[in-house]
């Protein structure tokens, strides 16, 4: 952008004038105000607005700006008059504040556009381009400067300087990464366990009531269940939340049909989807399908929550449940396998459990 383009126009282009309205002559000043219409008409390629039309346009422009003025006032008035605090008053406040703001901005926008289109003269100017690539002379000059500088620095000759400099830089570059170490603890085996343990009661999410097995007795029933005492512990809930499903005992098939893991047709599965961890909680009592609303992995509740559709690759882990001596549902242990989305260190935990049982 080194070329002064103000007056440069293609000589061959008849529609592009030699000099253009508003373009300063080399010794001249800028046009700010004044009636230039008569003389500029002579310049070819310039479309000067018809003065009568321009006068008419002026009225519309003024109207637009006036609307902006009034809308601006309206905004301030709305702010003072319309209070917020409940849904209805917030609705009124939002609509009036937003409406006046939009009107003010759009009024100004329309006014300026009318002004450009209806008053300012319309013309095109042509700007020449320079080739961006430097000439060979410029290149070799630059190269020489760089080479000279490099030689002056002596880095080529003084090897010790060069090497120790590199050595010095290496740990400095590592410092920011080292500093970030305390962002969080090491994972260790945290992802393999939940807070469920033998004897911990299952309680209804949202009410915190324990569940008597005899009360949860309607086939087709479902409950979202959390561990007692952890109702508001987000980290615990992110792994330990369950869906409790009441099936007819005869509907239950292997591998869900494990001794002592169900109580009168009540089964408990992890609610955390094995795909990426959304709560898989849509239960269809007719098909016994559990559906995750995020990516539509579908699990069969009667068959150990095995995957019947969608991207999840593993069944929802099942929690062994029983009843305590008051008849309330309790966990018999933690999950045998890690819940939730897969991770690198997870491995085939299901296979290990199977092999462990055989052994």
């Amino acid at each position: 952008m080194t070329d002064n383009t103000n007056d440069i126009n293609e000589p061959g282009e008849e529609r592009v004038p030699k000099r253009i309205l508003g373009t300063p002559p080399s010794e001249g000043g800028y046009l700010v105000h004044g009636e230039q219409i008569d003389e500029s008409r002579e310049a070819p390629g310039i479309y000067v607005q018809d003065p009568d039309k321009a006068r008419r346009t002026e009225k519309y422009i003024a109207l637009s700006f006036l609307i902006t003025f009034l809308a601006g006032i309206g905004f301030i008035v709305s702010y003072v008059v319309f209070q917020v605090g409940d849904l209805d008053s917030t609705a009124v406040s939002n609509a009036t504040l937003g409406g006046t703001l939009a009107l003010a901005l759009l009024g100004l926008a329309v006014g300026i556009t009318l002004w450009v289109r209806g008053i300012m003269p319309k013309y095109e100017i042509t700007e020449k381009r320079k080739v961006l690539a430097p000439s060979p002379e410029q290149r070799s000059e630059l190269n020489q400067i760089i080479i000279d500088g490099a030689q002056q620095s002596g880095l080529g000759r003084f090897k010790l300087v060069r090497r120790t400099l590199l050595l010095a830089a290496a740990p400095l570059g590592l410092l920011p990464i080292v500093l970030l170490r305390d962002l969080g603890p090491m994972p260790k085996t945290a992802l393999r366990h939940t807070v469920w343990k033998k004897g911990l009661r299952l309680v209804v999410e949202g009410t915190g009531q324990p569940i008597r097995a005899a009360d949860f007795n309607s086939p087709g029933g479902i409950l979202s269940v959390v561990p007692h005492g952890y109702e508001h512990d987000m980290n615990a809930l992110a792994k330990a939340t369950l869906i409790l499903i009441k099936l007819r005992p005869e509907e239950i098939q292997p591998p869900t049909k494990v001794e002592n893991w169900t109580v009168n047709g009540i089964v408990a599965y992890s609610k955390i989807c094995t795909h990426v961890g959304c709560p898989a909680a849509l239960y269809e009592q007719t098909t016994h399908h559990i559906l995750c609303p995020c990516h539509q992995s579908t699990f069969d509740a009667t068959r150990g929550a095995e995957v019947v559709f969608g991207p999840a690759a593993r069944p929802l882990p099942q929690l062994p449940i029983g009843v305590d001596n008051e008849g309330y549902l309790i966990a018999l242990s933690d999950f045998e396998v890690p819940v939730g989305p897969s991770f690198w260190e997870r491995g085939d935990a299901e296979k290990k459990v199977r092999e462990g049982e055989k052994a």
């Binding site: 004038p17 849904l87 926008a109 962002l183 994972p187 992110a238 990516h295 559709f309």
Partner: protein
């Protein structure tokens, strides 16, 4: 040309400050030059400005929101003015978002405008990018600006993701959960990244404040820097322009920056601001009060990311359940890794390398300032349309539950459709686009070679009826003639004894020649005269080369 009789003077109020600046900052003729900088006048050149202005509005409204927002996951009991949540446990972040919505005058408006501006920010970046791609405006010397633009888009997606998570409502939490699920699935480092990012187990107590810093400081800072670089490069390299009368590779034709374009730009900023205010006033967005506070135990039907993340959601949804266990000890969750990384990688890597690959294939090292009409680069246009189809299908499938629920289509059917179409769709789009481009090229050649059909039927002396063709109008002809030749490499295998040029030897060289030939295969030259029946009445045409009516 006559001089003005009275030369107007710059008023003192303007002259003083200008002089003050000129005497202190050696602008030289910087202002003089740049006030008359040329801006081509075409609406599609304003698409990028929507993004720029949305960004400014995001900064303004976002700053307002930070005055009340509390980036904390501390548990509080809600006691605000929204009845249906009174007494409910929630995070301080969610409570303060509700406070902004219901107890700060204009707070809801600013929240909604911020969100709408974010949606428009990404949308306008994408259509701007499509315009640049399909017209070939990314070619030398603008590859760097293309890459900066790609960086801006990437950052905008992360900016959107972090912002989406801040209110800590049930919907934003679902997005956060999916983000965590994807991170933890990364081989080797996944669990570590998750524990460092979240400060321990999911969700922990740190992620909102960390995302807050990333969202309001880190990414906007980088965005601001890159936007500046983007604009400076655009300014230095000047705009491209569509071919037309008087437009060459050596010039740029348009309106001057001052006063016309300055006013137009200002007006367009106000339009952008006004439209966003209009949306904020009358279209409800992200009603966090309806979602409820986040808990990892709950989820809603129809949980969706904002539209620009929809393509990732779609690819996760249509994936098949693949997971590999390595020696029972390590797990490679392909059903997460592939959909989360492959489409993203394909699209962004593809966009990043495309200018360089195309330059290698065409061997075209010229500077390009005249844009291509999409039809004149049929391979590029078809690749672009295949990409658009790929992205569009994934985006559509990201909403497949809403489509299934509202149009009563089987959810599973939409998934099966997606699994097939994600491969078939782009191929079809490529073929169809390619044929359309070649067809349009033929029509152009026809217009230049024979003129435009006038609809006038004329009977020749020999009894034949013909339709009279008129030569194309000058602007139209100039527009068409802006087509640039693409170099076709000589066929190396056919040349006996010929030594292939460097860069075309070896396996890569042969591939390059093959690709070049595919790229240029169906080009229709403009001078083409395929006068099958023209010869029959050659005597009529003779003597009327250009002027008047050409017959066909």
């Amino acid at each position: 040309m006559s001089q003005p009789t009275v030369k107007p003077e710059l008023p003192k109020a303007a002259d003083g400050p200008l002089k003050f600046i000129e005497e202190r900052i050696p602008t030289g003729d910087f202002l003089k030059r740049n006030l008359r900088k040329v801006f081509p006048d075409h609406w599609s050149f304003l698409l990028g400005e929507i993004a720029l202005y949305s960004f400014i509005i995001l900064l303004l409204t976002g700053t307002f929101l930070t005055l009340w927002f509390k980036p904390s996951m501390e548990h509080v009991v809600y006691d605000g003015s929204y009845e249906p949540l009174k007494g409910v446990m929630m995070s301080a972040a969610y409570e303060s978002s509700l406070h902004i919505s219901f107890e700060v005058r204009g707070g809801l408006l600013m929240r909604q405008m911020h969100h709408w501006a974010a949606l428009l920010f990404v949308a306008s970046m994408m259509i701007h990018m499509l315009r640049v791609f399909f017209t070939g405006a990314y070619r030398k010397p603008r590859e760097l600006n293309w890459l900066i633009g790609l960086g801006l888009l990437t950052l905008a997606l992360f900016e959107g993701l972090t912002g989406y998570s801040l209110p800590d409502d049930l919907l934003s939490g679902a997005g956060l959960r999916i983000t965590q699920g994807v991170i933890v699935s990364l081989p080797l480092v996944g669990t570590y990244i998750q524990f460092f990012l979240f400060g321990g187990e999911y969700p922990g107590e740190d992620i909102i404040s960390r995302f807050f810093t990333i969202h309001i400081l880190l990414i906007p800072g980088i965005l601001l820097g890159l936007v500046t670089a983007h604009l400076i490069l655009m300014w230095v390299q000047k705009h491209t322009q569509m071919p037309g009368k008087g437009r060459t590779e050596k010039n740029v034709v348009g309106a001057p920056f001052y006063p016309a374009f300055m006013a137009k730009g200002g007006a367009f900023f106000l339009f952008t601001f006004g439209v966003i205010a209009l949306l904020g006033a009358f279209f409800q967005i992200n009603p966090i009060w309806a979602f409820g506070p986040y808990t990892p135990a709950d989820i809603s039907a129809g949980s969706q990311p904002d539209w620009y993340m929809g393509f990732l959601e779609g690819s996760l949804r249509i994936m098949v359940p693949w997971e590999i266990n390595i020696a029972s000890d390590y797990t490679l969750p392909l059903s997460v890794l592939i959909p989360a990384l492959v489409p993203l990688g394909l699209i962004f890597t593809g966009l990043g390398v495309y200018p360089f690959v195309e330059r290698w294939i065409t061997g075209d090292n010229r500077e390009h300032h005249l844009c291509d009409r999409p039809r004149n680069a049929p391979v590029r246009t078809s690749i672009g349309m295949a990409g658009v189809t790929f992205y569009g299908l994934l985006w559509l499938l990201g909403a497949n539950d809403e489509i299934a629920a509202n149009f009563h289509i089987s959810l599973n059917a939409t998934t099966y459709f997606g699994r097939v179409m994600i491969f078939l769709g782009p191929v079809l789009a490529y073929i169809i686009t390619y044929r359309i481009c070649i067809g349009l090229q033929r029509r152009d050649a026809d217009v230049i070679g024979h003129g435009v059909e006038t609809g006038v039927i004329k009977r020749l002396p020999n009894g034949e009826f013909i339709e009279v063709h008129a030569p194309a109008s000058e602007p139209m002809a100039e527009h068409i003639k802006g087509k640039k030749e693409i170099q076709r490499f000589p066929d190396t295998t056919a040349d006996e004894g010929g030594v292939p040029a460097p860069g075309m030897r070896g396996l890569m060289g042969k591939m390059r020649v093959k690709l070049n030939h595919a790229y240029t295969a169906d080009d229709v030259p403009l001078e083409e005269h395929h006068d099958g029946h023209g010869e029959q009445h050659g005597e009529v045409l003779a003597g009327e080369p250009q002027k008047g009516i050409t017959r066909h």
